[in-house]
Symmetry: C2
Subunit: 344 residues, 2 copies
């Protein structure tokens, strides 16, 4: 059976490593995913020059010229509204008009989030569109939902996030019957802030998710749940603390290893094993962070992404579209209304 | 000038390592702090037997018999209300009645928090009593305030926490003009949830703290502020993620080092340096987590505390009382009213 063709647009501007890595990732991702056609938005001349260095099927990569750039110094909403000829806005418009199924960017998070909502738009029945990165654990990666900019969500919004996250983990990451836990400050049902206390019983009633109760943040790194559900402010704090604390500990340990001649020799002897372990901390082989619940897929990859992240994101978009995750999300959220659930 | 005498009560029950470590820490803490008198609550016979193994000034350690125990399986509020003869309740009553200035426990966090509020009680003008542990950073430890059980705090409560935290860092930890930052999901002033947006301008107006703006959680491990201000739910998530993620990374790295003969030899060669680095991650030499804003000082030390933590906590209590931190907090919070600040 031939796979459905998937059209993906890649914003080549805004990442820390320049269009080179985006183009290299695109060409390699194309080889791996035979059903994919890629659109690259960016400076046409530059992209043509970069592509000239590769052998690839010319019919499967299309360049879309963009003269403007959005950086992380721009105010996101304003930039999206005014920089009509930016690689980001042009890319998102390709999704909006239906030419492309998915959009990948390593540019400004704020602009990707704002653009996803303003240009691509929410799918029917979706209250809010969560940003849901995979975070590394000592087991397999967990989906942290929501880490976006939509803070102070209401309980019924979190219930939708739980459903979207479950559908994503099952259909894109391939986890069967994914477990869902809500971030809390204790494991007892009566613990929590007002939001958690109101959300907890709604999650318990929810038949289409595998809800396992509360999770304390100390358990998150040990992979105690596949979907880690939380409001965006807390999710953002968790995501960035994960990043900062890992970096601090590894920097300090590296410093310790380099502090004497003997320890330097020792460090050389454990280098191979450490590298292997540290690579499991990276969730990059699972793709970027999807912004879920839009009319198309928008994926934010890290600002310092290399070609590997681009390739993974292409695979992720392909799986997302092939498995009709958007359709499943919309049907999943509509089912709740049909059941007479009071959430809408 | 003779130092003011300080009376401290130590709850010897409830910690993971039994009364032995509490007694050993007490005797050693006594030697170090000449102005201190200690009260030990717990099983009298057992304490007498343990103390018999040490040389110490008999006038400076007093045993207070307690027949009941509060464990982390007890519902905190109920346990505090019903187990009148527990080491925890008897200890807190010594503070309430003025016999002791401070209370130290390695028992149930919930019971310590509940007991502090119900038995010792809030000082005049204090809206809420935050739990404020020191967390390790790549510079000096930062005070994370609030990590307690009082979630969903209002803006004016956070302003009080900022003042209390500053006074504590200055007078107990010895940081001059401590910097205060509020945990946020971006560094721009307009970022944040409703609580942060409302609190931010109040902190800016506040003359008696050194407010430096927002801090993203990824900066916390690098010691970017002395006082890390946040509402208790988020604070609790940060504290426990700190604990869990450090543990996970160190466990994984240890596993990597032990995975081959060569890496085991390498690990031996870096052991000394690593140990030194890891010990700086421990904040135990700065004492336990104070519950601030009460009529006396209540300090929660970690459940698995050893004698070192007990000794540090005794020093911490001594500094707190000698420098009249309680008085400074009350005057600091009252000053705001005198200025016509609308917070009360």
């Amino acid at each position: 059976m031939a796979d459905k063709n998937v059209n993906i647009v890649i914003d080549t501007i805004g990442g820390d490593n320049g269009p080179e890595v985006m183009v290299r990732g695109a060409v390699k991702g194309l080889e791996e995913n035979k059903n994919v056609t890629l659109y690259l938005t960016g400076h046409k001349n530059e992209l043509e020059k970069l592509l000239a260095g590769y052998e690839y099927d010319k019919n499967r990569i299309k360049i879309v010229d963009a003269s403007e750039e959005i950086t992380c110094h721009d105010a996101p909403v304003e930039a999206v509204k005014t920089k009509k000829d930016s690689s980001l806005v042009k890319g998102l418009n390709l999704v909006k008009e239906g030419t492309c199924d998915a959009f990948i960017s390593s540019g400004s998070s704020g602009a990707v989030l704002a653009g996803g909502q303003l240009i691509v738009g929410r799918a029917k029945g979706v209250k809010r569109t969560p940003l849901a990165p995979l975070i590394p654990t000592s087991k397999s990666p967990s989906l942290l939902i929501d880490c976006g900019a939509n803070v102070d969500a209401r309980p019924e919004v979190l219930v939708q996030f739980a459903k979207m996250g479950s559908i994503y983990m099952q259909n894109v990451v391939g986890v069967k019957n994914p477990t869902v836990a809500i971030v809390n400050i204790g494991t007892e049902e009566e613990k929590g802030n007002a939001l958690v206390k109101e959300t907890f019983p709604l999650l318990k009633q929810c038949k289409d998710i595998n809800f396992i109760g509360s999770i304390e943040s100390r358990e998150i790194p040990f992979g105690k749940a596949d979907v880690i559900l939380t409001e965006a402010f807390v999710g953002n704090v968790i995501l960035k603390l994960y990043e900062g604390l890992s970096k601090m500990i590894l920097t300090e340990m590296k410093g310790a290893m380099m502090s004497s001649f003997k320890s330097k020799i020792g460090a050389l002897m454990i280098k191979k094993q450490l590298k292997k372990t540290l690579s499991t901390f990276s969730a990059s082989n699972k793709g970027g962070a999807p912004l879920l619940g839009l009319k198309g897929l928008v994926v934010k990859i890290h600002g310092n992404s290399k070609e590997g992240e681009v390739i993974s994101a292409i695979r992720q978009c392909s799986e997302f579209v092939k498995n009709d995750v958007s359709g499943k999300i919309i049907r999943g959220l509509t089912a709740e209304k049909a059941e007479g659930n009071p959430e809408e």
